[in-house]
């Protein structure tokens, strides 16, 4: 972990100001300075209104920063987006009802102009990875919520993006499905070595998954701490019962500004 590591995403004094309904300025995010290394698993943690999703959307070029700057591999988010280096997993599966699971996974590949054969092979590979190989010909409505979210992840991985952005992807799922997907996500991350930005409001989830937890506090949204998670890899679910896991959870919880949330 100590060798010289390439910085993938760098923000400098990043800030975002919205206009609310009455036209007043609302400071959603201010003065964020962060360096994210290539291949790192970063959790963005905080209560609602802390700007964690805003930060993720800035990286994805879905939101324009109003102060400071943000560079990815030395480029602007827009340049990186146009090079199609992002995979984005939304909180909702955002699948298209009229496409089979496989055709859904192929959608970004169609946009990229892959041939039919390439699309089919890549989609099969991704479906295999998320464990949906047998459901390729099903329509999204026939799948459970957990399986839909897997299809969503498979679609985001299909382009083999450098950076995977995940916006509370598991928050709508039940605990059992969530644990299964945590293990799957860590395995996929290990196999593909992507940089992952994972937005969550669950302290346990952030500690279990990530290398570093970026703790954001609200009003105004700001980065209040970055906690290193030194749990060994690969991680297994029973690590959650170890004292060190709970120490880390407590450390993260105490790093919110203004005490615990």
């Amino acid at each position: 972990m100590d060798e010289k590591r390439a910085v993938e995403i760098r923000t400098r004094n990043l800030g975002v100001t919205f206009k609310d309904n009455q036209g007043r300025d609302v400071l959603a995010l201010t003065n964020v300075n962060l360096e994210i290394y290539k291949g790192e698993f970063i959790a963005l943690l905080g209560p609602s209104g802390c700007g964690k999703t805003t930060l993720l959307r800035c990286v994805a070029d879905l939101q324009q920063p109003t102060e400071g700057d943000l560079h990815i591999q030395g480029m602007t988010p827009k340049e990186v987006r146009l090079q199609k280096k992002f995979g984005f997993v939304f909180q909702q599966p955002v699948l298209f009802d009229w496409r089979t699971v496989k055709k859904n996974v192929e959608l970004p590949l169609e946009i990229m102009g892959y041939t039919k054969k390439e699309r089919s092979e890549l989609a099969d590979e991704m479906l295999e990875m998320v464990g949906l190989k047998d459901f390729a010909k099903h329509y999204p409505k026939q799948l459970s919520g957990g399986m839909q979210q897997r299809a969503n992840i498979a679609r985001a991985l299909g382009l083999k993006p450098d950076i995977l952005l995940m916006d509370e992807p598991f928050s709508a799922l039940d605990e059992f499905t969530k644990e299964k997907l945590h293990e799957d996500l860590l395995r996929i991350w290990r196999e593909t070595n992507k940089t992952i930005l994972f937005v969550t409001h669950s302290i346990q989830e952030s500690v279990f998954l990530s290398d570093r937890v970026c703790v954001l506090s609200p009003h105004p949204g700001r980065l209040s701490a970055v906690v290193d998670i030194d749990l060994p890899r690969p991680r297994s679910l029973d690590m959650r019962d170890e004292p060190h896991f709970n120490e880390l959870v407590a450390k993260v919880r105490n790093s919110f500004e203004g005490g615990s949330v």
């Binding site: 984005f88 909702q92 459901f135």
Partner: protein, 246 residues
């Protein structure tokens, strides 16, 4: 069993069995045509124009919805006028169209088109507008071209709404076409409908027409439903197959 044209309470509102008997009666009511033969041949004439108008209305309704989606300016410009056209009663609109086109057949097509057009356009437009923000964001992150946003997301999303519009429009097109018939005496369901009402023909013909047109209206809506299921395989699988669990 087909009675003469003298009106009695009995033959103004005949029993259902009398009407059914009249359907199968071989008695000639007009020239060498039986009641049902006359109704069906007139229905053919009316329906063909209704169908033509319906197709024209559906296609132009869809294209207009697309234009309104593409440009908010077009929507602001056109929408009030579309509603205005819809507000004119067909009874008033039909003579205007007839005097403009000068041809009853063209008028049937135009009126059926105008009536089909509005439900198709409004429903399709709300289909375009119902697409969630996440889907736009998804396509944006993948840097899709605007054309791809339409062909891969917006148009397929709007199809169920488009079909809802068609289901509303189909019976309306039939009704409108019948109404236009009443304006001129050269055949069509509406024409013999008004003749049978004005004692010029058996009252049973009137009742047969009422039932036949109702049936056609229901059928036209059903047929649209079948076509929809036919072109949307994802709807077919929905009911029968069970949900799969993780």
């Amino acid at each position: 069993m087909v009675a003469g044209s003298k009106r009695t309470p009995e033959n103004v509102l005949p029993h259902l069995h009398q009407i059914i008997q009249a359907v199968f009666s071989g008695k000639k009511v007009s020239g060498d045509m039986t009641a049902i033969g006359l109704v069906l041949s007139s229905a053919g004439l009316t329906l063909f124009r209704a169908l033509l108008g319906f197709v024209v209305g559906a296609v132009s309704g869809f294209i207009l919805a697309l234009l309104m989606k593409l440009s908010g300016f077009v929507e602001k410009l056109l929408f009030p006028y579309l509603m205005l056209i819809q507000l004119i009663p067909v009874l008033g609109l039909a003579p205007i169209i007839l005097s403009v086109t000068g041809d009853i057949n063209v008028s049937r097509v135009v009126i059926a088109g105008i009536l089909s057009f509005y439900p198709v356009a409004t429903n399709t437009l709300s289909g375009f507008k119902a697409v969630e923000k996440d889907k736009y964001d998804l396509m944006f992150v993948y840097a899709s071209k605007p054309r791809e946003l339409y062909t891969k997301v917006l148009i397929p999303s709007s199809l169920p709404y488009f079909f809802t519009g068609l289901k509303i429009a189909a019976p309306m097109a039939v009704t409108a076409s019948i109404l236009v018939d009443t304006l001129q005496g050269d055949g069509g369901l509406g024409c013999i409908l008004s003749q049978s009402l004005k004692h010029a023909m058996s009252i049973y013909v009137f009742w047969i027409i009422v039932f036949v047109s109702a049936l056609i209206g229901i059928l036209s809506s059903k047929v649209i439903g079948w076509i929809e299921i036919g072109v949307s395989p994802w709807k077919r699988t929905g009911k029968r197959s069970r949900k799969v669990r993780t």
